[in-house]
Symmetry: C2
């Protein structure tokens, strides 16, 4: 299987991050990740097809919002909290707080 490509911290662009976050499904993924849930691709979005889910993870990964790591047959996701905080301090926290309060 092909390698999972992640942009380096210095390559993160605010446009890409905003674009990745500006979608209800992806915003929900990020929110659940931030809440500490250990997510695999398959268990996260039962309401959409596998290919649709895969698309959203790609956007989040290529935007630099999350890491994907293969473990056996599954892919584990984790938020790139430190990288995002380093490049865009306060952004993630404010977005998460906003999602929390609605």
């Amino acid at each position: 299987m092909v390698a999972l490509v992640h942009p380096a911290r210095e390559q993160l662009r605010i446009e890409d991050v905003l674009e990745a976050l500006a979608n209800p499904i992806r915003l929900r993924i990020v929110h659940r990740l931030a809440a500490g849930e250990e997510l695999t691709c398959g268990t996260t979005l039962p309401e959409v097809s596998k290919s649709t889910a895969s698309h959203h993870w790609r956007v989040l990964r290529e935007g630099g919002v999350l890491f994907q790591r293969r473990v056996g047959r599954t892919v584990l996701m984790s938020l790139r909290r430190e990288d995002l905080d380093a490049r865009f301090p306060g952004l993630l926290a404010s977005v998460l707080a906003a999602v929390d309060s609605d």
Copy 2:
């Protein structure tokens, strides 16, 4: 001319704000507004057509990012900094800082 409709502070939704900000042209508008420039619609985006500019202002206004106020024949724009800070503390600052540093 038809009234300029703005969402109330309590109606602001994080999805709409992110959507509005997730565009290079609109991000630049917001950045210039934040820098204190007094912007009218016509002087802000000379590189795109009037109708395109009008489209972007509508997205920003309906997303709750800026106010538009008619003054004679022109429309003056201002950032809804207080409303955004009240609903989504830290969001605007982090986005503006990110745009600054690129």
